[in-house]
Symmetry: C2
Subunit: 162 residues, 2 copies
């Protein structure tokens, strides 16, 4: 089970990277390189973020995409909702007439989980995630690799320390 | 964003319905009808549940699928994991070498959400969901329809009251 779609994940990575210098216009190819994304796919994601007012877009040699929102206020949830929204269950997803607008216990459980995810993502801002990068707060899911936790950031263009 | 795949949802619906009479062998077509699923698709889901030891399968006119596990012990998570597992992030999903087995803050956030979902689903048993059906605990996500909450269960073959 994949929690976020590729598009939502690319959107987050792009916004986090751009948040290092919010007022700097960025070319698609630079964002693509920094976030390990294919340009052709990424540009559609960036256009989606522009439609949602998270980025602005300007054509021309001095143009590019620019972050419009303050990273300290922009939440992880807002970025996700702009691209691949987490939707609560408003009616029986099976269209069972007898349920109408009610949710059976199984769908209540699923809806509760969706509410929980929304709430968690609404509590984190892009600034929060960026700050954790800066302070080297990488969590090792397995044994530490030879380079160690702070060194693991080196060579990664997403990381503000490189 | 869809939290559970169709297959995982069909698995849950089938198991919940079968849990009304756990020791009764059920034909695929009966489970399909009760759970509003296509037989051809459902049989693969049921086979997956059988491989996981949640159901047993027996051929023949007296055969069918039977629930092997006690609904009071079988968790929602176990059913999901048998069909479309929720996997924690063990390494950088992007394969960024510099991250190695570490998770950047964005993937930590996603992994935390996955952990939360796993925990929530592990806390509910099939019996819990079935009991809430029996006591008519339907949650109305919108205005009450004319039939009312308990009447909304009537005519729904998933509901133990019909």
């Amino acid at each position: 089970m994949k929690l976020l779609s590729d598009a939502a994940e690319y959107a987050l990575r792009a916004v986090i990277w751009m948040a290092r210098e919010p007022s700097t216009p960025r070319k698609v190819r630079d964002i693509a390189q920094a976030t390990h994304a294919a340009s052709g796919y990424l540009v559609k994601v960036l256009q989606g973020l522009a439609r949602a007012g998270i980025l602005s877009a300007r054509r021309g040699s001095q143009g590019g995409f620019t972050l419009r929102r303050d990273p300290a206020e922009l939440t992880v949830l807002e970025v996700i909702q702009a691209i691949d929204p987490i939707e609560r269950l408003r009616a029986c997803p099976l269209g069972i007439e007898a349920h109408g607008a009610c949710l059976c216990p199984m769908h209540q459980q699923i809806d509760d989980a969706l509410a929980m995810i929304q709430q968690r993502f609404a509590q984190s801002t892009i600034r929060d995630l960026l700050d954790r990068h800066t302070t080297g707060q990488l969590r090792c899911a397995a044994l530490m690799i030879d380079t160690g936790s702070t060194q693991a950031s080196q060579g990664d263009s997403m990381c503000p320390n490189t």
